[in-house]
């Protein structure tokens, strides 16, 4: 197995106002990826204005104190650059890749968008229409309906994780310029901003460029999202959302899991790989897709975050197979909790996760994203070098304990959305 021994070795620098910069030189292409993250996401939405963070992400590059929205678009696009703004529950990200000769100009525009947006009224109405359309599309998408339903069952409708990241139509109708300006001022500041720069650029030059474009951003206190703790779920909860206009049903089945900082994280990661990732869906894929031919997709994902995120199992099946698929999921979940993984499964999952590091760190964009993750969770600049050892040291007993801790069909939350109205009487 070939694993890079020298590691990424990125350079980290903190600007006086608190903006953190991590830079890494690569010579793959004459291009640079710039990834700017502000640590605010949909979990910070005020309960009265669901979708506010998402609305902000749609508006952040639509005009600054020095450039109109059209000027931002024209300047970037004339260089072949598309700026992608995206939002998770905890971060707002601006990401783009540009040719190396355009690096300084593009970084300056990105900093301008993040620090000095003006949210012009003329753009707000248009973006509101878009946002409502996206919400309505989600409502017609069984996979989105199932996953949103699962999050609501797991966390409750009032918890930031239980609300839809894009908010509601009513929320979108109420969001106005004052709300955007206020939210930006309170939630986004130098101390919660991380810039990663990866590509054909000398790290010292990247750091100097960040000093130049972010250096005059005045530090101010930034409010963090209020994340109430969740109470443990003691019973199974199910929800069926009939969507009789659809061709097949989507299942979302899950549990609350662990926080990223939990000492069991690596055992849980390996456990999830065995359950629903390795070799096209792990044990779940082997049973539901390979042996029973019930689904084109079935997988599980683990979101260990600043609080315990979901462990979500998802599958798309014909309406007539919903009960059989749920029984198969119950069986695999219970079996892994009862017996743990086999030695062979654990070995293969370790080999896969460790061996895949060089591949997952091949492109500038993937390295920039990886560096954001290690800064967000405080993993250290040498994390890529330590990760193989962290995974290697997990024992079968620890993975078994992780399965017992997280997996129990009697405590599962289950949502089915699609042309299915429930078990036949």
């Amino acid at each position: 197995m070939s694993v890079a021994v020298a590691g990424l070795g990125p350079v980290r620098h903190v600007v006086a106002n608190g903006v953190r910069v991590i830079a890494k030189a690569t010579g793959v292409t004459p291009a640079v990826t710039i990834h700017v993250s502000a640590h605010v996401g949909s979990a910070a939405d005020p309960p009265s204005l669901p979708g506010l963070a998402y609305f902000l992400s749609r508006m952040i590059d639509r005009g600054t104190q020095s450039m109109t929205a059209d000027a931002v678009a024209e300047t970037l696009e004339g260089r072949g650059v598309s700026l992608a703004a995206s939002l998770t529950r905890h971060t707002l990200s601006l990401v783009c890749t540009c040719l190396v000769e355009d690096f300084d100009d593009v970084l300056r525009i990105m900093a301008d968008c993040l620090t000095r947006p003006v949210f012009p009224e003329s753009e707000i109405a248009t973006r509101r229409g878009e946002m409502i359309t996206f919400i309505r599309q989600d409502e017609d998408n069984p996979a989105s309906v199932a996953m949103n339903g699962l999050m609501e069952l797991l966390y409750g409708p009032d918890h930031p994780y239980g609300r839809r990241p894009r908010g509601t139509v009513a929320g979108a109708d109420q969001i106005n310029r004052a709300a955007l300006v206020d939210f930006h001022a309170r939630m986004i500041g130098p101390s919660s901003t991380v810039v990663t720069i990866v590509g054909d650029v000398v790290p010292a030059a990247a750091v100097a460029a960040c000093e130049s474009v972010f250096g005059d951003w005045q530090p101010h206190p930034v409010i963090e999202a209020n994340l109430p703790s969740t109470s443990p779920v003691l019973e199974r909860r199910s929800r069926i959302v009939p969507m009789m206009n659809k061709a097949q049903a989507d299942i979302a089945y899950g549990f609350t899991s662990i926080a990223r900082a939990d000492p069991d994280y690596y055992a849980c990661w390996l456990m999830n790989n065995v359950l629903g990732e390795y070799s096209l869906g792990g044990r779940l894929g082997d049973s539901i897709r390979e042996r029973q031919g019930m689904a084109y997709y079935v997988l599980s994902s683990l979101d260990a975050n600043v609080i315990p995120g979901p462990l979500a199992i998802r599958a798309g099946v014909a309406a007539g197979n919903v009960e059989r698929a749920l029984a198969a999921i119950d069986h695999e979940v219970e079996a892994l909790a009862t017996d743990g993984p086999t030695d062979k499964e654990l070995l293969e999952s370790k080999q896969y996760l460790i061996g895949s590091l060089p591949r997952t760190l091949e492109t500038n964009a993937s390295i920039a994203g990886f560096l954001q993750g290690l800064e967000y969770f405080g993993l250290g600049l040498d994390y890529d070098l330590r990760l193989p050892g962290l995974l290697q040291s997990v024992s079968r007993d620890q993975v078994h304990a992780a399965a017992r801790r997280l997996l129990d069909p009697a405590r599962a939350a289950v949502v089915v959305a699609g042309p299915y109205a429930g078990p036949a009487a």
Partner: protein, 445 residues
């Protein structure tokens, strides 16, 4: 055997081309930026090679070729590569079927072993064929859950009357229900021969080693004569066509599809520039382009449709194909806006371009965007190898190093001419997805 110099991108370097005695074409490029290697094995077979009764067979065969071989037990096909941290996949489209693995370089021998096994010794166990039938029907139904995908299928079927590009790659449901194991196996044996394939290896490898290993794995596989393929040329369209899908839903969608030039046509690159002017440059890599959104906010249709609030999204799609396929513009109507208004505004902007052409500023910007995308989409060995195999399967891989030059050579007059010739009413098919009634906010039971 040929070796050509390449222009300056990550694909800078040399492509080594060699044809084994059995007709298997090897394309090898050394790239030493990471300790990785990628293998793509391409077959000149796709859904355009299918006949009524077996539509979808190319794609189903692709699925069966992950189900074990004489020397690889069924449950080890995927794990064999993943043990090296590797990624594997495959896809089928209208002209091609392809399989890929990317892993650490020391997995190269295993990757070539898998591809040789797949070419000659896949099992097609009858029980596995049956089990996969329902998996593929599930894939089809999952696609039908998406109104945009459903509409795309209807538009394509309406735009083509004679050419087999008209049927979806996944196949029609009745064929998926009735096809037999023998249909699958016969098709597999007919097309999975070395003289119908291209093996591409890119990465931290030594060319001589790759040739030696490839010969060891593939030389024993005998070539077989390929029967001639018969294709109907799509007759010229004589008038605008329309298709309307009415189903329960929340959102209205519009597609405008024009018959488009094939990759080898002189019109292809001017058309690619025209698309970039209309909807932003996507690049030219089917495998990589969709991962990054196009720069489109300053593009014609975005300005006319999205910035005016009529549509919540617009995209344009022109892909290199062996025969003339479609250039499709897709729009999502903003909540509360009628499809008629979206259609009127879109056709009005397109008509403006057809009658008056575009500006030299737009063409130069589009070309800069496309040049930048060429650099961006060559950022991994997987993407580089994809392009070599893709173009070799459709035409010749030597087109790949010529793309930048061909784009540079596109003139304003060529773009305007291709707009005038292609964006006509008689050359288009308009598809509408009209939600038959509003779906209220859903409540669980």
């Amino acid at each position: 055997m040929a070796a050509l110099a390449q222009p300056s991108t990550l694909s800078a370097g040399v492509v080594h081309e060699q044809v084994l005695d059995n007709g298997l074409r090897l394309l090898i490029q050394e790239v030493h930026t990471a300790p990785l290697a990628t293998v793509w094995c391409w077959y000149r077979v796709g859904s355009k090679d299918e006949i009524p009764g077996v539509t979808g067979v190319s794609h189903w065969v692709e699925h069966m070729n992950f189900k074990g071989t004489t020397n690889i037990p069924r449950d080890q096909v995927k794990g064999l590569i993943e043990r090296y941290g590797g990624y594997w996949n495959g896809y089928t489209w209208i002209d091609q079927t392809t399989y890929t693995e990317t892993a650490t370089r020391d997995a190269l021998d295993h990757m070539l072993f898998i591809e040789a096994e797949r070419m000659a010794r896949s099992l097609y166990d009858p029980a596995d064929c049956e089990s996969e039938r329902t998996v593929i029907i599930s894939e089809l139904q999952g696609g039908e859950n998406d109104p945009d995908q459903l509409l795309d299928q209807e538009v394509t079927a309406t735009a083509f009357r004679a050419h087999p590009y008209r049927h979806p790659t996944i196949g029609w449901i009745s064929d998926l229900q009735s096809m037999t194991r023998d249909d699958l196996y016969t098709y597999y044996r007919r097309y999975y021969v070395p003289n119908n394939a291209t093996l591409v290896v890119v990465g931290d490898v030594d060319t001589a080693d790759v040739v030696r290993l490839a010969a060891r794995h593939f030389d024993p596989i005998e070539s077989r004569a390929l029967s001639p393929r018969l294709y109907t040329t799509e007759p010229e369209q004589l008038g605008e066509r329309r298709v309307t899908v009415r189903r329960e839903g929340t959102t209205a969608y519009l597609k405008i599809a024009y018959h488009a030039p094939a990759v080898a046509s002189d019109d292809f690159f001017p058309m690619l520039v025209l698309d970039a002017v209309l909807s932003g440059a996507k690049g030219i890599n089917l495998w990589a382009s969709f991962r990054t959104p196009p720069p489109q906010r300053s593009a014609r249709l975005y300005q006319a449709l999205v910035n005016t609030g009529l549509a919540s999204s617009v995209s344009g799609g022109l892909l290199p194909t062996q025969h003339p396929f479609l250039y499709t513009i897709s729009l999502t109507a903003t909540e509360g806006v009628t499809l008629d208004r979206v259609e009127e505004a879109a056709l009005s902007e397109i008509e403006r371009v057809r009658l008056h052409g575009v500006t030299s500023h737009e063409v130069e910007k589009a070309k800069r965007q496309l040049r930048a995308r060429l650099v961006f989409e060559n950022d991994s060995i997987t993407n580089i190898a994809h392009q070599l195999g893709y173009f070799e399967t459709l035409a010749r891989w030597t087109l790949v190093p010529s793309i930048a030059g061909q784009l540079d050579a596109v003139t304003l007059d060529q773009v305007s001419a291709v707009a005038a010739a292609r964006l006509t009413a008689t050359n288009r098919t308009i598809g509408r997805f009209e939600p038959s009634d509003a779906v209220p906010g859903r409540q669980g039971i």
